[in-house]
Amino acid sequence: MARSSAHFPDPPSRSVPLPSPTSDAMYHTYRSDLSQVRALVLKQAKEAGLAEGRANDLVLAVSEVAANTLRHTQSSGTLAIWHDEDEVVCEIHDEGTIADPLVGRLRPAPDANGGHGLWIVRQVCDLVELTSDASGTTVRMHMSLRAPGPRG
């Protein structure tokens, strides 16, 4: 895929690796069964104390990112999920490459023929970190456990 911003250097977030998941993170590899991925995220998010609405938001976000694995790669993806007292974090890693660092930051037209997935992810999560290079893409989605309540 051609880079859309060839004149600009990579933003720092694309070259600095994310800190490692906590040692008690749970891992799940998927290739085609996203229902299983969603069930796992819902269970873990609720057990961590995330309210129902926000747990469903996280399920939607993870499912959208995992769907990109099915659409854009020939290999499996990995879900990691962990939490501490502050937040629940889900990370999806696959072998795909995202060339546009702004992906999902601009609202697609409602009838656009694609591009809603990462927009939704950025709307429902408290923080989204994305790194992508030749070795693959990692998307880390954070949901605070201290937020006052469900949003929107």
């Binding site: 469903n56 409602p110 997935g117």
Partner: protein, 116 residues
């Protein structure tokens, strides 16, 4: 058991019959092609209105949404209308976030949709 089941009926109501497509389960990228085939087949029959019952849907992702938006465009071109009925909270929120609810009317139930 299939992740998503679809059923289609022609409902005689008042003056004009409408097509009712009921979706039950989870609609995502793994079954959006099948959903597209079902909706394409119904759109091709050129009904005056097509009501999609979402009340049995536990989950919907953007792939399924694109299929529904595509059916809406096709119906619009042939002078028909699409309505969505009964989305549960997560699905309703998704329709709101993408502003799809600005393009397709969303009703609380099939009876409201068919009356509207």
């Amino acid at each position: 058991m299939d992740l998503l089941t679809t059923s289609v009926a022609t409902v005689e109501s008042g003056s004009e019959p409408y097509t009712l497509v009921e979706l039950v389960g989870e609609a995502d990228v793994t079954n959006s092609d099948a959903l597209r085939e079902v909706l394409d087949a119904e759109v091709a029959k050129q009904p005056r209105s097509l009501v999609i019952d979402l009340s049995g849907l536990r989950f919907m992702d953007s792939s399924a949404l694109h299929v529904i938006l595509r059916a809406n465009r096709a119906m619009d071109r042939q002078g028909g209308v699409v309505a969505l009925a009964g989305p549960r909270d997560p699905v309703a929120k998704m329709l709101r976030l993408t502003a799809a609810d600005q393009l397709i009317p969303v009703y609380r139930s099939v009876s409201e949709a068919s009356a509207g």
